[in-house]
Symmetry: C2
Subunit: 367 residues, 2 copies
């Protein structure tokens, strides 16, 4: 336990009344029993992780949890978006039931977005709901997917189609876990960081442009700021619209096109963040085609995404296939696709578009 | 449409603030477009039913829904508790996604408890939650399972282990559907009616004793009263404790033993209501073993359950097996089984019991 770690931990609050919780951001939090002191003492904890992250961090988390739980179990899932399905989810239920874990058991999601989505959905469903804690170990999960209570698994016909809104008890972003993250995953996470600029905060976008090299080099202070500001913006949005009745949809900027890329290529070919990066370029082009923003903003967004090392040209699936894939998007209504677009720099909204407008965007952004 | 049907419809309110809803009870409700007038007009509806109930009532419901929905789809599940699992649930998701149903789609659960549990859980999970309506066609579903928002599927290691608390938009109990119910199912439903007496209302228990013959003969007025009073008691309990933090557990009277019977014999051997009937006899005996009630009350409960045609002797699985099965009950905490017992006539509570006390009860109640 590093005594200085507590001093630098920062807290962002998700304000949802009785479902509200804190996001802790700092270095060395995972090993620090103080991090877990607010949790109720219970008989059983289950760490849900994967075969990549488990060997790196599960033993350390287990040790830190030992003070509050009589038994700390671990289940390791296969790694990757391709495994975000029912049969993998069932490994969690099997593990809980084989150990006769009761409904006071606390689940810990130790890993990236896939682990968080699956552990969260398992927690939502096991005995109709047990508490869970997010311990995101990827940049993408720390800045986006671990916050806000969206959980889900994929269906062969669509991404995140089966899930629940289910809030964690707390989110613990240990920035030290980012030191072991492969560079490709770090870059994928930057896509979700960049996202917050055009939809909510152009000053943050300016900051990312100025500090991209530091972020890519994993400068501790730069990462800390990126995670904290991202979480603040997400908290502000989720606090107003927990169940995506309206505003929250803006967090899906780039995701309608991005999900089509992921699903069309087969889950796991492109990382989620890569698909979202490219999807944001497409969504920026669509914003322009709808007359909302000028070419200069589209170029600026595209350039930053490209400088981050993310793809800005999508796979040539054909317009018809893109449209087919996007029609099962959760935002679609009565067969009409609804796109998150930039309405003005730093402000997003949801709009329909004609097939011709989408075709024009895809012509410019796929190859 | 029978004009007189509206006149006799009665309403019981489930009071859960923004999640509150009405239970409509009457004859001919299913065919009456007025029943569905409160629902929002939407593009898609999906009727979830089974291969037994679908041929009897799906076309009539579809016709009545035609005014409010542009498309009314139907999916027929295999019938029975043995199919209350993930692969059957997935038939609902497949159906929704194959038809590109959006997140405003309304699901209708047309059938008994299994259909209601699965359609409700599918509604809770599809796109993280779509609206649904319960249209129970069995006595058991009308008096118990369709009301209160408990949804779930079974896991090989335990009944109803994977599910959600998810409230319907409304519950429509059309008493005419009980005319096609097999007698064995009618009797199974009476178990849940009888349940409300010892746990909440001994005057209702008196009434059931006096009117059992009329209920077994499907007297319309008797069934209407049984359904209404059962729903009133359930509404009173659920309104105070939606997520089973305390009081709601009393509705599980007979269910801890009952689930062990169902699971131990294999789902579908005994009907759920049959297992609950026998489980209530066991729970009454346990209440006596704990010194809470006298032998006369145990005899009275046992006699009514037997007169209804329900089993009062359980299968001889052995005490060790019963205990093992009951330790995964959702009420168990830290390996200790918690039983719903009669604390006084018309009042129930949750108590632990020693293995010896359970063994004594099983010795008296199994063969």
């Amino acid at each position: 336990m590093d005594a200085s770690s507590q001093a630098v931990a920062q807290t962002v609050r998700i304000d949802l009344d009785e479902r509200g919780y804190d996001i802790l951001i700092g270095r060395g939090l995972l090993d620090d029993p103080a991090t877990w002191a607010a949790l109720p003492g219970r008989a059983d904890a289950l760490i849900v992780t994967n075969t990549t992250v488990g060997p790196l961090y599960a033993a350390r988390l287990r040790a830190a949890l030992g003070e509050r739980f009589a038994r700390v179990h671990t289940v390791e899932l296969p790694d990757g978006e391709a495994h975000k399905d029912w049969s993998t989810l069932n490994l969690i239920f099997d593990s809980l039931l084989a150990r006769a874990c009761d409904r006071k058991t606390v689940l810990f999601a130790l890993g990236g977005g896939v682990v968080g989505d699956m552990a969260g959905f398992a927690a939502a469903c096991y005995m109709r709901g047990v508490p869970f804690v997010q311990v995101p170990t990827t940049l993408l999960a720390q800045v986006d997917s671990s916050v806000g209570g969206k959980t889900a698994i994929n269906h062969p016909l669509g991404k995140n189609m089966i899930g629940a809104f289910y809030q964690p008890q707390q989110v613990v972003c240990d920035l030290e876990t980012l030191t072991t993250l492969p560079q490709r995953e770090l870059i994928a996470g930057l896509a979700e960081v960049i996202k917050y600029g055009p939809i909510a905060d152009m000053a943050f976008f300016d900051w990312i442009e100025a500090n991209l090299a530091a972020l890519l080099a994993r400068d501790a202070a730069a990462l800390a700021h990126a995670v904290r500001r991202s979480c603040e913006i997400k908290a502000w949005v989720v606090g107003q619209d927990e169940r995506e009745g309206g505003l929250r949809a803006i967090l899906n900027f780039g995701h309608t096109f991005g999900h089509a890329i992921e699903s069309g290529l087969g889950y796991g070919q492109w990382l989620h963040g890569e698909a979202v990066g490219c999807g944001m370029v497409m969504a920026a082009h669509l914003s322009r085609a709808l007359g909302l923003v000028d070419a200069a903003l589209v170029d600026r967004v595209t350039r930053l995404i490209e400088r981050a090392g993310l793809p800005v040209i999508g796979p040539a699936l054909g317009t018809a296939r893109y449209l087919e894939l996007m029609r099962v998007d959760k935002k679609a209504e009565a067969g009409q696709i609804r796109f998150v677009v930039i309405e003005a720099p730093g402000r997003a909204g949801v709009r329909p578009a004609t097939d011709a407008q989408v075709g024009e965007v895809l012509a410019a952004c796929t190859r």
